[in-house]
């Protein structure tokens, strides 16, 4: 099979996956218990007449199959509907906006930090395998890895905001302030970013660290490490030139898998720190049965994941002829 055919096949596969995702999306939220009509009316004290009118307005009194068909029809026309909870707001504008940027910044920065830290500490620990340094880092990482992230977030909030007054308690920006210029805005934003970023970085760190340490230990058993030693290279050179480079490859593919987090966000952390991102949007929408928003988020996520994995496959195939032949 040639390269072009391979690309065509993967694209078709991706297309079918997205169609399945759309169907699943629709069904999943509707077999969940919970009546979206309550999301529409919101307040339990709302008059029955008001409720019935809102239910009819959103077409929620129609049979499910009809709703599904209309959903598909609207998607084809590029419409994702309007939020049940924030009535009048198109789903697209809710998702693709400030919330997405907030999540990208938070997840990107914390994953990057955890990644760098994980690699650095992982290499050190692997090199000093069995020593006190290694054992204490492994213990620490196991602890942070298994720690509930919202609990750690609350502790950090207690310490940094409540006792030390170092960081603000909530939000992405100081409320009610008009910033004179972009720099002041960015500084304020970063100030708010510190605590949630630290929380997430600590929670990601354990995984990256353990993975890095294991990979390096694996690499150490390879023959070429023996060769390097036999050549009389310095420890430093062996570690950084040979071991680390090879160990980074699996780390990078792990990072690729984690790219989805960039969009899905960290629901709990975003809630604890009132970080207005997509993770919190998912949380709020699940709680309120805001189907249109949920469908929108998951659809965008599915599409992004499919596109990312197809591009990765195609790039790999382009670089590595073995994959083409295997397919």
């Amino acid at each position: 099979m040639g390269f072009k055919e391979y690309v065509g096949k993967r694209t078709l596969q991706g297309f079918v996956t997205i169609l399945l995702a759309i169907t699943l999306n629709f069904i999943l939220f509707r077999i969940m218990p919970g009546d979206p009509t309550r999301a529409v009316s919101g307040d339990p004290r709302v008059d029955t007449a008001t409720r019935l009118a809102l239910i009819a307005k959103f077409g929620l009194d129609r049979p499910l199959f009809e709703q599904f068909v209309l959903y598909f029809y609207n998607l084809l026309r590029g419409e994702m509907g309007i939020s049940f909870v924030q009535i009048g707001r198109p789903v697209v504008s809710i998702i693709l906006g400030r919330k997405m940027v907030n999540t990208l910044v938070l997840m990107g920065s914390s994953m990057f930090l955890a990644f760098i830290l994980g690699i650095a500490v992982g290499v050190v620990a692997a090199w000093r395998r069995g020593t006190k340094t290694d054992v204490s880092f492994v213990l620490l990482s196991l602890a942070t890895y298994s720690m509930p992230v919202f609990w750690f977030g609350m502790l950090l909030l207690m310490l940094l905001s409540y006792h030390l007054h170092l960081v603000p308690i909530a939000g992405t920006i100081t409320a009610g302030v008009a910033h004179p210029n972009f720099l002041a805005y960015a500084a304020d934003y970063l100030h708010h970013l510190i605590a949630p970023m630290m929380t997430l970085a600590v929670s990601f760190f354990g995984g990256y660290f353990l993975f890095m340490r294991d990979t390096i230990l694996d690499v150490f058993t390879e023959d070429y490490m023996l060769t390097a030693r036999a050549k009389g290279l310095s420890d430093r050179k062996i570690l950084f030139k040979h071991a680390m480079r090879n160990a980074l490859l699996p780390m990078v593919s792990l990072m690729g898998v984690h790219v989805t987090f960039l969009i899905s966000g960290a629901t709990l952390t975003e809630t604890v720190f009132s970080w207005d991102g997509l993770g919190r949007l998912i949380y709020d929408s699940v709680r309120n049965n805001d189907y249109p928003v949920l469908q929108g988020i998951f659809l965008i996520m599915a599409v992004l994941v499919v596109i990312a994995s197809i591009s990765a496959d195609i790039a790999n195939a382009y670089l590595d002829p073995r994959i083409k032949e295997a397919a």
């Binding site: 078709l12 079918v16 169609l19 399945l20 169907t23 069904i27 509707r30 077999i31 969940m32 218990p33 919970g34 009546d35 009509t37 309550r38 919101g42 307040d43 339990p44 004290r45 709302v46 008059d47 029955t48 008001t50 409720r51 019935l52 009118a53 809102l54 239910i55 049979p63 499910l64 199959f65 009809e66 599904f68 068909v69 209309l70 598909f72 029809y73 909870v85 924030q86 009535i87 009048g88 707001r89 400030r98 609350m154 909030l157 207690m158 905001s161 409540y162 603000p168 308690i169 909530a170 939000g171 992405t172 920006i173 409320a175 009610g176 008009a178 809630t271 604890v272 009132s274 709020d284």
Partner: protein, 650 residues
């Protein structure tokens, strides 16, 4: 290959599920016939709301209390999805215990007890059906004289306290965490911050700064609507009430007070209500507010069939203006709560809303224009809203604050921390029960006694009147009422910050005018409760601690009428002849026949009308099915693509 088979199977399964769910979701037409209960003992499931600690804790305590009278009331916390689905649509719960919620005047009475609300999504979810109550409610809603109306309401409450579709327990009171340097807030039933508490809004001030202080309030989530008509949920409504004015407002005792209308009169027949407006009110964009705006607002609701404030708007015939500052509302029928309901209608600027639809998604960049004490200043969607004082507010010397900022802090502990550090000054809702002890000792907060107001959330235990004979029996429910120590519930579930409610319109909330000294109430008395159940034949025969249902009354002739009510217990007979066979006169028979015939005629007429209605519905369906066909085509295409794809893979 295996994998492909599995995925094709999954698709088939998914499609099958779609259809199955669809089939199930079709409501069965007509009323479901009640299954005969096969309950042998007084053992029920009582549902509570799992996220509401007050509901859950009170439920557990009630379960313990009712053990003393031999009733097993198993408290089961459920998520609101499951619980509300049942109340709204399935209607087959047995008992539940949670809160309803009051409006500033007793508007809850009619929907909760009128039989017209026994429907899907109706408020009478316990299906309490009593024609006498229906008539009294209709009468009360038409009665203009406050005292006569209150007496009717007392009568209603006394009847309901005999039948007991639900037993009122307590209100969870509003205790607020607010930093001690703030003063001027007004305690009103419903809390120091509430959308109808306009006194707090205009009076709130810093102790060192009578005017111009900046107040920051924490919200658990962002407001739902910028649109003043739809902003009726607690979070949006507070912001709406600061930006927009209503005609009237409430004082601290829940009496109506003038607001945008400095005075009003109601004609003796109740058909004409005249509002006299304040003369110096301006919209935030400096256009004067006149009677035309008020007329426009009411016409707007009526012309567009706005689904809010329906009870009021549907009873208004038309509105006219007399000069710039007098509005005359002509009612189609007398309505007792008309002026109260106007408290809920935001007066909207005609020059902005003239060509808009009621559900216009007001874009916040357009700065919602109202006439209220605060003006829209700036916002960040999802995070904060800043309102600034309206310098030209028509009420001299108000508001005191310079600005009012709403800030979203999602997590309750984070909100509390933010108040403790002073980053925010208070929060929208009352303290969670878990923070009360901490707040009581916090030196930075105002003493809780100062912020303690009767709450709007009324907790009750409700009995489904549809199926279980034992739950329809007033004796069982009265015994339950006697066996519940409501004060203890308050002490445990709300740490004492609650108010016991014995009547359906508690005067603690709705004002002393509703106090009825002769109201039917049930003092805590376990002994009496046990005696009542014994006397009614609910005995614990198998000695397992739970009372059994009473043995059915003897019926020797098997005609379905118990011997005690049967005039002829030996011969099977008809109920209308007291259980005797009865002799029917020929003329009476003929009369019956005529009655039956005329009934058939009128039935036929109804059927014709119904058929005409159905024709209309079918036409509408035809239209919508045209739309459907496009969508169906799309789905078919997609299914085809998937099918072809999997077909080609072989």
């Amino acid at each position: 290959m295996q994998l492909k088979k599995i995925s094709s199977l999954t698709i088939a399964l998914l499609i099958a599920i779609t259809f199955a769910v669809n089939l199930i979701s079709f409501p069965a037409s007509g009323q479901v016939i009640a299954p005969l209960s096969d309950k042998e003992e007084l053992s029920f499931e009582m549902w509570t709301l799992d996220w509401d600690t007050i509901s859950v804790d009170a439920g557990d305590v009630i379960e313990q209390m009712l053990r003393q009278i031999g009733i097993r009331m198993k408290a089961i916390p459920l998520s609101d999805e499951v619980l509300y689905d049942n109340l709204d649509l399935e209607h087959d719960y047995e008992v539940y215990e949670m809160s309803g919620g009051y409006d500033p005047y007793p508007s809850h009475i009619t929907p909760r007890f009128h039989s017209s609300e026994i429907m899907d999504y109706g408020s009478n979810d316990w299906a309490y059906d009593n024609p006498e109550i229906d008539a009294l409610l209709d009468q009360a809603n038409r009665e203009l004289d406050f005292e006569t109306r209150t007496e009717i309401l007392w009568e209603i409450q006394d009847i309901i306290a005999e039948d007991f579709p639900y037993i009122p327990l307590f209100t969870s009171d509003d205790v607020h965490a607010i930093r001690k340097e703030w003063t001027g807030y007004v305690c009103m039933p419903g809390g120091i911050f509430n959308w109808y508490n306009r006194l707090t809004t205009i009076n709130l001030q810093h102790e060192d700064m009578e005017y111009g202080a900046d107040f920051v309030m924490a919200y658990p989530s962002y407001i739902r609507y910028y649109n003043p008509i739809m902003g009726t949920d607690g979070r949006s409504a507070l912001v709406v009430s600061m930006v927009y004015d209503d005609l009237v407002a409430y004082d601290a005792d829940m009496n109506l007070t003038p607001w945008l209308a400095k005075d009003w009169t109601v004609s003796s027949d109740g058909l004409t209500i005249t509002f006299y407006l304040v003369e110096d009110a301006m919209w935030h964009d400096d256009v004067p507010l006149t009677s035309e705006d008020v007329k426009f607002t009411i016409d707007f609701y009526k012309e567009q069939d706005v689904p809010y404030d329906v009870p009021l708007m549907s009873r208004i015939d038309f509105v006219e203006t007399d000069g710039d500052y007098t509005v005359i509302v002509h009612m189609a029928e007398p309505y007792a709560w008309a002026v109260n309901d106007f408290e809920d209608v935001p007066i909207m600027p005609k020059h902005i809303w003239e060509d808009k639809a009621w559900d216009w998604a007001v874009h916040p960049d357009m700065m919602p224009i109202g006439s209220g004490p605060f003006k829209w200043d700036s916002y960040l969607d999802g995070e904060w809203i800043k309102l600034v004082a309206n310098e030209d507010f028509w009420m001299e010397g108000y508001p005191h604050l310079g600005s009012f900022t709403v800030r979203v802090i999602s997590e309750s502990s984070a909100r509390y921390l933010a108040i403790s550090t002073g980053e925010v000054h208070s929060e929208r809702y009352e303290l969670d029960t878990g923070f009360i002890d901490m707040a009581a000792e916090d030196p930075n907060l105002a003493p809780l006694e100062d912020t303690w107001c009767v709450g709007m959330w009324d907790y009750y235990i409700a009995f489904n009147q549809r199926y279980e004979p034992a739950l329809q029996d007033p004796v069982v429910k009265k015994a339950i009422a006697y066996a519940i120590d409501k004060q203890q519930l308050v002490d445990i579930a709300r740490l004492g910050y609650g108010t016991v409610t014995d009547t359906y319109i508690p005067s603690a909330f709705f004002g002393p005018a509703y106090e009825n000294p002769d109201a039917t109430t049930y003092e805590y008395n376990v002994f009496l409760a046990n005696q009542m159940l014994d006397a009614a034949g609910y005995l614990d025969i198998d000695a397992d601690g739970i009372r059994e249902m009473p043995a059915p009354a003897p019926d020797s002739d098997g005609d379905g009428i118990p011997d005690t009510l049967d005039a002829c217990p030996q011969v099977p007979g008809l109920p209308e002849y007291g259980g005797c066979p009865g002799e029917v006169e020929t003329i009476e028979e003929l009369e019956d026949l005529i009655d039956a015939l005329s009934a058939t005629v009128s039935e036929t007429q109804t059927m014709v009308t119904e058929l005409e209605g159905e024709m209309e519905t079918m036409k509408a369906q035809l239209n919508s099915s045209l739309n459907m066909s496009y969508g169906l085509g799309a789905v078919a295409l997609i299914v085809a693509i998937i099918a072809i794809y999997f077909g080609m893979r072989k």
